[in-house]
């Protein structure tokens, strides 16, 4: 079993703690993009975009290759696995507990929900 260093995970979660950086990651989901393409959806300078990309690089989420004058960024999805595994543990823990709570409540007669007209579900 490979274990992640706290520093690695700190930099991963720090990288993911910013909305702009998360959107950049999503836009890298399909294909490699230049720094300019990554900056385009935001009202930020190329320098600011480059700073964000550096944070993503440090976390191992993005690699950058230079092609002539263009810096191409690629997603390195395996870096997300560390965070994902860790979070899944808690997700599973709480899901199991809520399932048990629902069963315990179903086994015990409690007063039914107050009568109210059936709500119309909005269709998406």
């Amino acid at each position: 079993m490979v274990e992640y260093s706290p520093a690695q995970l700190d930099s991963l979660f720090h990288a993911l703690s910013d909305h702009t950086r998360r959107r950049m990651l999503r836009s890298l989901g399909g294909e490699a993009r230049s720094v300019g393409e990554l900056a385009a959806p935001f009202q930020i300078s190329l320098a600011a975009a480059s700073k964000h990309i550096k944070v993503l690089e440090r976390a191992g989420l993005v690699t950058r290759t230079v092609q002539g004058r263009t810096h191409l960024c690629r997603l390195q999805p395996e870096a997300l696995a560390a965070g994902q595994d860790w979070l899944r543990f808690y997700e599973q823990f709480w899901n199991e507990r809520l399932h048990a709570l629902a069963e315990a409540l179903a086994d015990t007669p409690v007063s039914p929900p107050p009568a109210s007209p059936p709500a119309r579900r909005k269709t998406p």
Partner: protein, 145 residues
């Protein structure tokens, strides 16, 4: 600032929000779904709650000869809408800033519970590594943030 990350789960219940809310604070209820031999291989040594803002709880269980005390402080108690408490294991993570928030919304069928566990990222020290498709990971990110 220490990085934190949220884990969110939700579930619908076929009972009024008051019943679900009380099940989080009443030791008799906690012993039915959260702790005890009916839940996993463990013995309950005590389940103590002090259900007021600033009050503390202690859920002490024994698993394979090891005593594990789940402790915390109630930060918000707004029956039956919202309950927030800190969550830690005594001796392991006493002051790590992990909090659990439970939000209940009444529905025609009963209620919907949404749980948010906010974790400091440094807890992730021993997460095992597996490789997964990146699509799955980004999907999870969508859900988590």
């Amino acid at each position: 600032m220490n990085p934190t990350v949220d884990v969110q789960v939700s579930r619908a219940f076929a009972v009024r929000p008051e019943a679900v809310f009380d099940a989080w604070l009443d030791p008799a209820w906690l012993g039915r779904w959260m702790f005890g031999p009916g839940v996993r291989a463990e013995t309950v040594l005590h389940l103590r709650t002090e259900p007021r803002v600033g009050g503390r709880f202690s859920f002490l269980v024994e698993r394979q000869g090891q005593r594990i005390d789940h402790i915390g402080t109630y930060l918000e108690i707004d029956r039956p809408r919202r309950l927030v408490f800190t969550w830690a294991i005594r001796g392991e993570s006493d002051d790590d800033g992990s909090t659990v928030a439970i939000d209940l919304t009444a529905t025609p069928e009963g209620c919907l519970l949404s749980l948010t566990h906010t974790l400091p990222a440094q807890w992730a020290d021993y997460a095992p590594r597996t490789r997964q498709g990146w699509t799955t990971m980004l999907d999870t990110l969508h859900r988590l943030f």
